[in-house]
Subunit: 157 residues, 2 copies
């Protein structure tokens, strides 16, 4: 499906881009309560995992898990939360959220009722995160970015 | 890791088991607000996706996506939500939740603030769901259940 004019993930203006290789990208979310919170975004506008082919799903899962591995190595969280919801923005994206027992919502989901103010921590350096993601993807170089895919995603609809 | 005596997913007593083949099982959750809500549970006690090998992750993702495909075919939801949280029960399991625009929390996550009473619907027949999951897994027969794995999971710790 082509880019959708009204979709904020087709038309992102300001993202902290950590990794962009092939069909998906990793962005670091700015959330003071959740340092290291990342989103893995499928670049094309599709809604559900089962709108992708099996090989496409495998690439996306590999990127989600590489991001999880990188965040575990850099932050040593108590838990990782993964979610693909998309009720508000039905453009396939994954939340990868490092969780700590003293964070704002633990043990609730971050979309639930706050449990406390939450201890604030420093987030990871985006470059260190990118290096860890690359390592987790077995050294797949960032230069493997598919420029055609990139151009298509960024062109006006 | 062996079964954990205190873990409710290592020692499940009452589950509506829909599918059980090899290393993971699909259960139908009893939730009047969310008909068709399923969990895909990795049978061994591990906490995170990146505690699994890449081939194990692929099997689990295939089962999650087969369940998503089955629920989409049977219920035609407006959206599917997928999540692996595990803050309360750190035994790897995935939530597969059919969502409707008039359900109790839409467009919030089901762990968020209720938006309305929510329209109640009938859930899928477990046998029809199992058949659809089998079909989505390319016809892998339900008889491929690994009985050794089953016996191990169900034996006392």
């Amino acid at each position: 499906m082509p880019d959708q004019p009204e979709c904020p993930l087709c038309n992102s203006q300001a993202e902290t881009l950590v990794w962009n290789a092939g069909p998906c990208r990793v962005i670091l979310v700015s959330d003071a309560d959740y340092p290291g919170y990342c989103r893995v975004v499928w670049n094309e506008h599709v809604a559900e995992m089962t709108d992708l082919s099996a090989p496409e799903r495998a690439v996306l899962l590999d990127t989600v898990c590489a991001t999880e591995a990188a965040l575990r190595a850099l932050l040593q969280p108590d838990k990782i939360n993964l979610a693909s919801l998309g009720n508000m923005v039905p453009h396939l994206h994954w939340h990868i959220i490092p969780r700590f027992r003293d964070d704002r919502h633990y043990p609730q989901a971050i979309w639930g009722t706050p449990q406390r103010d939450g201890v604030h921590r420093s987030g990871p350096d985006p470059h260190a995160l990118a290096q860890r993601i690359a390592a987790a993807l077995n050294g797949a170089p960032a230069t493997s970015i598919d420029n055609q895919q990139q151009d298509r995603r960024r062109s006006p609809s």
